[in-house]
Every structure is written in structure tokens, then in C-alpha cells.
């Protein structure tokens, strides 16, 4: 029982080959675009790698880059096969090459779907990674004199300005951290001494935020100190004030940004996957149709094309048997290489 049989007269075969050749060029460019999208995503993730704790999410752009490159190669091969299929003398050299080629191509294309699924599945992991990374960034904000952490202040400031966010979840995260370094605190002043004493860990905590939390859209000059003290500022009420600082937390801002990127890339990848699969199916039809022509005198006969010669189950069983034979042959080969003496002894016994 043949799977999805189709008749192919000569003209249809020629048109299939030509159309497929054109499509393979389109798919080659799409593969290059997929590679470029993977590179872009990777650079964007890398730029903020200082506030990310784990690199799990990098598997998505890595997959896109690998599949993009592989598909360029696959489509070049497909184009060559199409070109050769119009010439029956050159087509036979592809005979042994094509079956493993199909398996490989289908596997590589399915990696695209895997990448898409992973981009959604890894969102909690990304959020967790950002949570820890931002927490560390805020904690080490003041350590501009410690090697290995001196860049954190600049990173967090630039991040808050660019993404218009403040703190991890919101601006109150800054109240729990000492973000003013002790070397800029005047320990002879009473106010500083009181504050440090009132805290269990001896930290200088205050209800203030760095300048990078300030919202440029605010109508009044930025209030960054004594945020919870309504009396400290004229005509100010922190409960209703919304424009003074950035409202969003940086974790939410970054997750939205990356999800937005992946949601844009997702449909493109899906389209490319569909294109690639349709090319592979058409190529299979072309291959099987051409096999009917080989060895015939008249090249313009009508042949049949199919996807699988036998049904799905039977093809799977056959493939399994083939692989088992190959493995056995390999094993027997090893065994005979190790013990040539015993085998020659066995032979006379059986005979």
C-alpha cells in the first residue's frame, strides 16, 4: 500500500523540478534570514547578560542559528537535485544519498518547532534568571570600587533609563538595599549614625532611589529622596503620585521585551518550517517519480510518485530491520576481527 500516490506526466515532472528549484532558492534565503534572526536574538540576550543569572534561554537563538545554517546547505542540495532530475543520466548518482538526506532534513526542520516551543517554555526560567540577576545588580550597585562588581552601577543605571523601569519588582526594592556606598557617607553626622544604628545589619537604608529611576515625562523636577515622606516636599503625595518615577519593575520590562522579540520571530520561523517541509515533500515526489523513469527508453512516460513505498508501519519496521542488520554486521565484524581462530574452528564443526 503506497502512501499518497500521485501521477506525474512528463510535463508535470519538469514543472515540478523547475518550481522546486526556485522554491529552494527562496528557502535558502529564508534559512539565511533565520540565521540572522538567531544572531540578532543572541546579541540582544548577550547585551543584558550582566543582569541574567543563567544562560538557559540561549538555547533558542543557538538552535535558530544552527538550523538556519543547516537549511542553507539542505536547500542548496535540494536545488542541485532538482537541476539533475531533468537530466536522467545525472540523476542516479543521488540515489543512495537521498534517503538519509530526507531523514536529516526532516530532523533539522523539526528542530525549528522545538526552538519555538522552547521559547515559550523557557519563559519562567528567563524570569527567574532575571530576578536573581537584578537582585544581585541592585545589591552590588554601591560596590563601584570592588573588581568584578564595579560595572554594576553603570549597568543598572543604563538599564533603568533605557527600559524605563525601576528596581526588580518596583521602586521599593531600592529601600531594602544600601545603594549608597559607605565611602560617601559622613559617619560623623548624627543623621547617618542614627540610620545605621537603627538597622540590624548596620546598613544605611533610606527611602530614596537612584537618579536613573526618574521619569523624564514627569511635570515636576524629580523627587528621589524621602519618597515616603509627604511633608518633605511641597504639594506631594506619594500614594497618588504616578509620574515621578518609572512605575514598572525592570524584571517585567525585560521579560516583556524578550517575549515581544520571540513572538515576532515565532511566526516567521513557523512559516519557514512550513516552506521547508513542503520543499521536502515535493522533493520526495520528484525523487520517486524520477525513479520510475530510470532505465526506461522513453523518457517522457508517465510515472507515479509517492511519499512512502509501503505504509507507515511497514516502512518503520523495514527501517528498524535495516538498522538492526547494520548493527549486527558491525558487531559480527568486530567479533570476527577479534577472534579469527575460534570462527575457523566453528566452521568445520557445523559443516
Amino acid at each position: 500500500m503506497v502512501l499518497l500516490k500521485l501521477k506525474f506526466p512528463f510535463q508535470k515532472r519538469v514543472r515540478l523540478a523547475q518550481g522546486l528549484w526556485l522554491l529552494s532558492w527562496v528557502a535558502m534565503f529564508s534559512g539565511a534570514i533565520t540565521f540572522a534572526m538567531g544572531v540578532f536574538l543572541k546579541t540582544e540576550l548577550h547585551r543584558r547578560s550582566e543582569v541574567m543569572h543563567s544562560m538557559d534561554i540561549h538555547i533558542v537563538p543557538n538552535l535558530l542559528m544552527a538550523v538556519g545554517l543547516a537549511s542553507v546547505g539542505i536547500n542548496i542540495c535540494a536545488g542541485k537535485v532538482c537541476q539533475d532530475s531533468l537530466d536522467p543520466s545525472r540523476f542516479p548518482r543521488w540515489k543512495t544519498f537521498l534517503p538519509p538526506f530526507f531523514f536529516l532534513s526532516v530532523f533539522v526542520s523539526s528542530l525549528l518547532l522545538v526552538a519555538m516551543i522552547l521559547s515559550f517554555a523557557l519563559q519562567p526560567s528567563l524570569e527567574e534568571s532575571l530576578k536573581i540577576g537584578l537582585k544581585n545588580g541592585i545589591r552590588f550597585y554601591k560596590d563601584t570600587d570592588t573588581p568584578g562588581r564595579c560595572f554594576q552601577k553603570e549597568t543598572i543605571d543604563r538599564l533603568q533609563i533605557e527600559f524605563q523601569c525601576c528596581g526588580n519588582t518596583n521602586y521599593r526594592d531600592w529601600f531594602e538595599v544600601q545603594w549608597v556606598s559607605s565611602r560617601y557617607l559622613d559617619f560623623t553626622s548624627k543623621e547617618v549614625k542614627d540610620r545605621v544604628k537603627s538597622n540590624i545589619d548596620g546598613r544605611y537604608l533610606m527611602d530614596g532611589v537612584p537618579f536613573s529611576c526618574c521619569n523624564p515625562s514627569s511635570p515636576r523636577p524629580c523627587i528621589q529622596n524621602s519618597l515616603l515622606d509627604n511633608a518633605a516636599h511641597y504639594d506631594y503625595e506619594y500614594q497618588t503620585e504616578e509620574l515621578n518615577l518609572h512605575k514598572r519593575g525592570c524584571r517585567q520590562a525585560l521579560v516583556s521585551y524578550y517575549m515581544g522579540l520571540m513572538n515576532t520571530i515565532g511566526p516567521c520561523v513557523l512559516l519557514f518550517f512550513l516552506l521547508q517541509m513542503s520543499i521536502l515533500v515535493s522533493l520526495r515526489y520528484l525523487q520517486t517519480a524520477m525513479e520510475g523513469v530510470l532505465g526506461e527508453e522513453n523518457l517522457e512516460i508517465e510515472t507515479e510518485g509517492y511519499i512512502l513505498e509501503k505504509g507507515v508501519k511497514e516502512t518503520l519496521l523495514e527501517t528498524k530491520e535495516k538498522i538492526m542488520k547494520l548493527l549486527q554486521f558491525a558487531q559480527v565484524g568486530d567479533a570476527s576481527a577479534e577472534t579469527p581462530g575460534t570462527e575457523s574452528e566453528e566452521k568445520p564443526a557445523t559443516a
Binding site: T144, V180, Y184, S189, F211, P219, R220, P221, H233, Y234
Partner: protein, 318 residues
């Protein structure tokens, strides 16, 4: 007396026509480049329009856009003529148009050169426009409740953040302006009233700057108030402190930015002008060659089968 006479065989003529066809397509692309450069410059100037006092700044991008469009049209027509030149019969159609066309292209390349030179001259006007525009923007920084000026605070803040600059010439410009609106000043406080009284015009001037002047690279949290008062902050000396605020003035920052753009555009337009000039010369050559060969073809057909040599082209004996 002919200018730069050259001998042309038929094959050489064909090759010349082919080369010109390719050159025409390249010229169309350069026309598109000119057009897009004009659009880019227009967008860049419009983006910062709030910070510029209106001068004749729109003329340069408009000229580039117009020149780009005309370049595309002229070169497309030139390409059509070229294509027909190969066939001496079709050439008759274009015979009358050729000379005015070449004069047009000559004037057009002149306008490309003028466009390139205008790019460089625009910078002087730009500096003046920016100085006045920035001064006004800073003056109206506090007027976030006045329609027509309410966006200036955001514009100036985003400018200072993006271009890493502070004030017009430096951060001290902010000391001479009241940038805190009266509606956020507590007039019942003694300190505020003293400050207002001590100023001739009744302005509330402080030695403080907006938050957007803060330098991201500073190792310490930003000091934006009481900048000239060393005792107000621990371990602080404003004369030697360089990393706290952005040191550059916004006028210089914007001018550098636009100078880079204008120099790049000017250079590109000059290169395009050189290309166009050589193109016009080769077109003129082609025109004279085609005309001459048309005449000699007529005489060759009429006369006996002898090799005819003319001043401009050589016929092969078949």
C-alpha cells in the same frame, strides 16, 4: 574641431552602449541613494525641531530629495535612449531630443554639486539655530503646564540623557535659569522666599541641575543639588569632580552629531556628482558616435562595396 575625437568600430559602439546601460542603472540607484539621504536628513532635523529656531534649514534636505527624484527620472530616460541607440533605426526617434537632454543632464549634475556644497554651508546656520533653540528650551523647561511648551521638559531631559550633555555650553547654564516651577515651591518657607528676594527678577535660582545631567559612569550616587557647595556633601570637591555630571554642552554635542551626518552626506553626494559628470561625458560621446555612424551607414549602403572609413567609425566588411 571635434572635442576629444575617438575612433569607434561597430563592436566598440555596441560595447559602449552596453556599458552605458549598466551605468544608467547604477545612476538610478545613486538617484535613489540621494533621495533616501535627503529623507534621512529631513527626518533627523524634524526630530530635533523643538530645539531649533526656524531658519532656512529645510532647504538642504528638500533639495537633496528633489535632486534624487530628478536623477532617477533622467537616468531612466537615458537608459531608454541608450537601449535604442544600439539599433540605428530606433535612434531616429530620439535624435531631436538628444541634445536638449544632454544639456539638461549637464545642468542637473551642476545642481548635484550645488547640493553637495550646500550640505557643508548648512552647518553655520545650524549652529546659530541650535544655540537659540536650546536657550529657549531650557528657559521653558519649567513650563510643563503651558500649552505649546509642556513637552519641552521631556525633550530636554531625553536630549541630555541620549547625547550625554548638560546645558547649553555646560552645566552652569542651569544656574542662571529657574528650572523649578513656582507651583512646586513652598512659598511659606523662609529659604525659598530669601532666594526669590535675593534675585533681581524674582527668579528662584539654585546651584542645582535636573536629574538628566547625571553621569551614568560616576562611581558615586549623583549629586545634583548644591553642586558648588563642597561642605554640603561628604568627600566632594566640585572643582576637581569630573564624573558626577555630563561635562559637555548640548550645543556642542548636537553640532558634532549633525557635522558627522552632513560630512558623510556631503562626501557621498560629491562622489555621486563625479560619477554623474563622467556619465554625461560618455553619453555625449555616444550621441556623436551614433549620429556619425548613421550617416556613414547611409553612404556605405549607397556606394559600392568598398571599405569606407569615416572620421568616427569603421565598418567591417562582411
Amino acid at each position: 574641431m571635434a572635442v576629444l575625437p575617438v575612433r569607434f568600430t561597430k563592436t566598440m559602439r555596441d560595447k559602449l552602449a552596453q556599458v552605458l546601460w549598466v551605468l544608467n542603472w547604477i545612476s538610478i540607484i545613486t538617484g535613489i541613494i540621494l533621495f533616501s539621504l535627503g529623507i534621512f536628513l529631513k527626518v533627523e532635523i524634524n526630530k530635533r525641531q523643538d530645539l531649533m529656531v526656524e531658519r532656512q534649514l529645510q532647504s538642504v534636505p528638500n533639495m537633496l530629495i528633489a535632486v534624487g527624484l530628478i536623477a532617477c527620472a533622467i537616468n531612466f530616460l537615458g537608459g531608454k535612449i541608450c537601449y535604442d541607440c544600439v539599433d540605428t533605426n530606433k535612434f531616429l526617434r530620439w535624435k531631436l531630443v538628444m541634445l536638449p537632454y544632454i544639456i539638461c543632464t549637464f545642468f542637473f549634475t551642476l545642481s548635484v554639486l550645488v547640493g553637495a556644497l550646500m550640505c557643508y554651508s548648512m552647518l553655520g546656520q545650524l549652529e546659530e539655530s541650535l544655540t537659540l533653540g536650546l536657550r529657549d528650551a531650557m528657559r521653558y523647561y519649567k513650563d510643563t503646564d503651558t500649552p505649546g511648551r509642556c513637552f519641552l521638559k521631556r525633550t530636554v531631559d531625553l536630549l541630555q540623557i541620549q547625547f550625554q550633555c548638560c546645558g547649553n555650553e555646560g552645566y552652569r547654564d542651569w544656574f542662571q535659569i529657574q528650572w523649578v516651577s513656582n507651583r512646586y515651591l513652598d512659598m511659606s518657607q523662609r529659604e525659598v522666599v530669601d532666594r526669590l528676594r535675593s534675585n533681581v527678577e524674582g527668579k528662584y535660582l539654585t546651584d542645582g541641575v535636573p536629574f538628566s545631567c547625571c553621569n551614568v559612569n560616576s562611581p558615586r550616587p549623583c549629586i545634583q543639588y548644591q553642586i558648588t557647595n563642597n561642605s554640603a556633601h561628604f568627600n566632594y570637591d566640585y572643582q576637581t569632580e569630573e564624573l558626577n555630571l555630563w561635562m559637555r554642552g548640548c550645543r556642542q554635542a548636537l553640532l558634532d552629531y549633525y557635522t558627522n551626518i552632513m560630512h558623510s552626506i556631503g562626501l557621498t553626494v560629491l562622489i555621486i556628482w563625479l560619477f554623474e559628470t563622467s556619465h554625461v561625458i560618455s553619453r555625449a560621446e555616444e550621441k556623436t558616435v551614433a549620429e556619425c555612424c548613421k550617416q556613414t551607414t547611409a553612404t556605405f549602403n549607397n556606394s559600392s562595396r568598398t571599405k569606407t572609413r569615416s572620421s568616427c567609425c569603421v565598418h567591417d566588411m562582411s
